[in-house]
Subunit: 238 residues, 2 copies
DNA sequence: CGATCGTTTGACAAGGGTCAAAATGCGTGG
DNA sequence: CCACGCATTTTGACCCTTGTCAAACGATCG
């Protein structure tokens, strides 16, 4: 419950070193980049759909999410962006963002530190590669979740994934974490209505597996919960 | 309707040059790679979930698809892989595939030709970057499709996307294309049951917008169809 | 000419959506 | 500290889209 006071780049270092061993040089680059950090208030667009991408950025702290609008007024939340993760990774010269990235909470970002371009095996380079692979994996899981899971499975499976990702960044305890989304936003993630999300939350609570309320999630029995929805974490390395 | 006799690398060249201008050097590399092509029969796994990825390959001809299994026996088709597209792009040393890639028809592949590593602006390099960006875009659209569209919208929207992608590879006419999927597979793409897919196909046919049968799709009125589902193509460049 | 796979159809069930209203929580200003 | 207004959560009743089950039909291939 008690989180140690974090340095500004705490979760960045935690996550990236978990993805690949970083050298002192890598860490120096990260430090330099973090020094140039920017604070963005909640509910601001970082990257807009159809706009040219300015450059890859690193999310240092706070929550952001990617959305796509449908003409009929609906929106879909494609996925979250959590501390230590990259924004606009697939960005290339001339590439256009297909999603809008918006801050959910107050957010701290910095330009992504660039690895030594002469060294394809640098830790930072590898960490980015892993991060890109993970990002793709999260998208694929989201597709499977929406396509082939029931409402309650979607909710449970998604909560477990969020938990895993927060653990990777070192900002969740083994059974509890913050979740600053409204039920309506959760609905936009899971392809449901907020009313039905509410019903599923009530169900989960009653089942005793997971308790969700007041922007906080408590996972009562992680192992059992995993078994219920056949959850298996996205594996990072072979 | 009459397709010109294609060279083995026809759609590869068509697609990649559409993504970025290729130099003679780039085309030479492609030719060399295509020379080392492999033919794989239908229904073979190219990359298996959880297996180490061997290297990026280029799909020269035929159809493949990526799936994820759910423990409960369902499967979700994450997306298709069409001629000119890359297989295992996010592959990195140590990265593990999160999806299984399977051939649908007989397929021809080759190792992806590597661009000149000293030139970050080479056409081939840019084409791969665009291709990766497109791949991500297709995943995002699939999420939105599953999360926020009705059954008939999903079907229509998806058919339009497939059409666009085939056009990019030069293997569709302006209003017609092959679609070698069974209705059950379409169901696994769209997160529906095959029975319901069948109902939606009947509906589409009756509406006169799109005719789907005998592994062939005919789009009667593309512009109108686009309007019906608020379709906008994935844009390639700004 | 069976056998097998895929398509088509019908009757029925159920999961999730819709609408509407009440209850709860929370920040702001008096 | 209370009162108000607003956003969010919770609940109930009802309906519609999609799933389920089962069977008939059609095509393709030894």
């Amino acid at each position: 419950m008690i989180m140690p006071a974090q340095q500004p780049d705490g979760s960045v270092l935690t996550r990236l070193t978990a993805l690949a061993p970083l050298t002192a040089d890598d860490k120096g680059r990260i430090n330099d980049a973090v020094a140039a950090r920017t604070v963005v208030p909640p509910r601001r667009d970082l990257v807009s759909e159809g706009e040219r991408i300015t450059g890859v950025r690193l999310l240092i702290d706070g929550w952001a999410f990617r959305t796509q609008m449908v003409q009929n007024g609906y929106r879909q939340i494609i996925g979250l962006v959590l501390p230590g993760e990259l924004i606009g990774m697939c960005a290339r010269r001339n590439a256009v963002g297909v999603t809008t990235t918006t801050t959910l909470t107050e957010v701290v970002t910095c330009p992504a530190p660039m690895p030594d371009s002469t060294d394809e095996h640098s830790g930072l380079f590898q960490a980015y590669a892993m991060s890109a692979a993970l990002e793709e994996a999260y998208l694929c899981r989201q597709i499977t979740r929406l396509g082939r899971m029931s409402a309650s499975e979607r909710l449970t499976d998604w909560l477990l994934e969020v938990h895993d990702r927060l653990l990777l960044a070192g900002i969740a305890s083994h059974d509890e974490f913050e979740l600053p989304l409204t039920q309506e936003m959760i609905a936009d993630v899971l392809g449901l209505t907020s009313v039905h999300v509410n019903r599923m939350i009530k169900l989960l609570r009653k089942s005793g597996l997971v308790t969700l309320g007041a922007k906080r999630v408590k996972i009562q029995d992680r192992k059992l919960t995993e078994r219920v929805v056949c959850y298996s974490p996205v594996k990072v390395v072979a």
